[in-house]
């Protein structure tokens, strides 16, 4: 007799989603989280009265969250408050232009007419194709199991309208956006999102080329910080008896004859279950929790063949003055070519470019309660060399460099006297992310995403190598990001309910 029906290792969004749905279906479910807070990258911590988000900074494409709370018998607003953020982004281009992209598509059309009149027709085509693709693929692809060719074919037969979008997956991000835009600024505004999938525009899958459009469906910030999302899912799950334990590090999977039957914790205790779900990175799951000696040779070769998405150091800043910004997110961009150049000539070589700043998030614009009265928070999401070891240096030493670089860019673009107004500044390096969140090499977007690592070529939600082991999270189907990891949790729950429900 097992202690639980389901044990979920890791309380990231994917793990919590699967756990809540399993609990709702009547399965006795336990989540074990190794750190002291839930949410993984989508979490919030408090220092000196400032509430900083660990990594994720907004939620866009809220349909998977809507569907999740529906499946849990409620709606989003029963569990968390999402604050709409408009404009979507503010841009500072390398030639000094500043403009903000509004959520409203008609208002954006007016902006395109002003900054890139030659691309108005392309923008309309981008909207027509992108919006129909997002609408038609949402349920069909985002929330459906797609571990095998057979499942993909079933999806295609059930939803023949989606087949016309299949070539998009095989194209590159830059190939897609270049088919709509000529103007360098328009290209910049739609290109940098490929880094959200951990790849440069010339390597990332074309499907990510439409992220720039999906944001026009609305971007939201949860009141109280990004931890509001995992807290909401956890609360919904706990209404059905879900148990969550923090500070419980799982050391290995308990296995017999290639079948998982529980976990062994770092403190030596063992907990048994009918099935185990791992929300950890798939490489950590297979190579550390399961162990290569418990895997067939092909499985070790397969899992070792993946590379991780690029790491993203975060810089958390508390200010005693309102920053000169226009939007929740501000991007200091450069040309599409230089985005590829940074990847090829810096990151791949282990060299850190001269500028650290990539994306500036201003969460106190949406929710002033995150900081003491009159204070503000800025979170900088930087990109960093991949592979993870910076050439001739180490991440702990580079913290000082990142701090200085962030302050310099803050003074250049946001607040000329920033140095005098910083009350708190801290850097989280890829090594910190690896230590705290168990993301190998600090790759917070999971595995590298291109056409050879998507859908049925990403680690399966239902393991074929280990019986009764299921995976969820950013290294499984759909990849990193808030909506996609929630969707991965729904997909994994569907497999479990099919097998055990």
């Amino acid at each position: 007799m097992s202690d639980y029906d389901v044990i979920v290792v890791g309380a990231g969004l994917g793990g919590l989603t699967t756990a809540a749905l399993a609990a709702k279906s009547g399965m006795k479910t336990l989540v074990l989280e190794q750190s002291d807070i839930i949410g993984g990258c989508c979490s919030t911590f408090e220092v000196d009265g400032y509430k900083f988000d660990v990594g994720a900074s907004i939620v866009e494409v809220i349909q998977p969250l809507e569907r999740l709370f529906e499946m849990l018998g409620g709606k989003i607003s029963d569990y968390l408050e999402l604050i709409p953020c408009d404009p979507i982004y503010s841009f500072i281009t390398d030639d000094g232009q500043r403009f903000s992209i509004p959520t409203d598509i008609d208002e954006t059309t007016e902006l395109v007419k002003r900054i890139a009149p030659e691309d108005v027709e392309g923008w309309h085509r981008f909207c027509d194709k992108g919006l129909s693709m997002i609408e038609e693929m949402m349920d069909a692809v985002m929330l459906s199991p797609m571990n095998t060719f057979s499942e993909a074919m079933q999806l295609g037969m059930k939803n023949p309208q989606i087949l016309k979008f299949a070539p998009t997956f095989a194209r590159t991000h830059q190939g897609v956006i270049r088919s709509f835009y000529k103007n360098p600024v328009m290209l910049q505004s739609a290109a940098f999102q490929s880094y959200f999938a951990g790849a440069p525009p010339e390597l990332g899958s074309g499907v990510f080329g439409y992220i720039a459009l999906s944001e026009h469906l609305g971007i939201y910030y949860p009141r109280g910080g990004m931890i509001g999302i995992p807290n909401g899912i956890a609360k919904a799950g706990m209404d059905y008896g879900l148990e969550i334990k923090v500070n419980q590090k799982v050391e290995k999977l308990l296995m017999e004859n290639g079948t998982a039957f529980g976990v062994k914790l770092e403190n030596g205790s063992e907990i048994t279950a009918k099935l185990v779900v791992s929300n950890l990175n798939a490489q950590v799951t297979y190579l550390k929790l399961v162990g290569p000696h418990n895997l067939p040779g092909w499985a070790v070769k397969a899992i070792a063949s993946y590379s991780n998405s690029m790491p993203c150091p975060m810089i958390y800043v508390g200010l005693d003055k309102k920053p000169d910004l226009e939007a929740h997110h501000t991007i200091v961009t450069s040309s599409l070519e230089s985005m590829n150049d940074v990847w090829n000539n810096y990151y791949k070589m282990g060299i850190i470019p001269e500028t650290a700043m990539s994306l500036v998030c201003w969460p106190t614009e949406a929710d002033p309660s995150l900081a003491p009265e009159g204070r503000h928070i800025l979170n900088f999401l930087c990109n960093a060399p991949a592979p993870y070891a910076p050439k001739g240096d180490n991440w702990d030493r580079l913290k000082g460099w990142y701090k200085d670089a962030a302050i310099k860019e803050l003074e250049t673009y946001v607040l000329p006297d920033a140095r005098d107004h910083i009350e708190y500044i801290q850097v989280s390096t890829p090594l910190d992310f690896e230590r705290r969140l168990l993301h190998p090499e600090g790759g917070i977007y999971g595995l590298f995403s291109d056409m050879t690592t998507l859908a049925m070529f990403r680690p399966r939600s239902r393991s074929k190598a280990v019986k009764n082991l299921y995976l969820t999270g950013s290294s499984t189907h759909l990849g990193g990001g808030v909506p996609t990891t929630v969707a991965s949790g729904i997909v994994t729950a569907k497999y479990i309910l099919k097998d055990f429900g």
Binding site: T172, A302, I303, S305, A465
Partner: protein, 48 residues
């Protein structure tokens, strides 16, 4: 005739691929190289 075509076809395909490679931009070549390195792993990745 068909026999000759069968002999010539692989050569034509190869010539076409070489020509396409030299006409491709640096960026496209980097992409093709990247994908080419990943392809041998696909049969393994499919099952994991």
């Amino acid at each position: 005739m068909i026999k000759n075509l069968k002999k010539v076809l692989p050569v034509l395909v190869l010539v076409g691929m070489v020509a396409a490679w030299f006409q491709a931009s640096e960026s496209t070549r980097r992409y093709l190289k990247h994908i080419g390195k990943q392809v041998p792993y696909l049969p393994y990745r499919y099952f994991i």
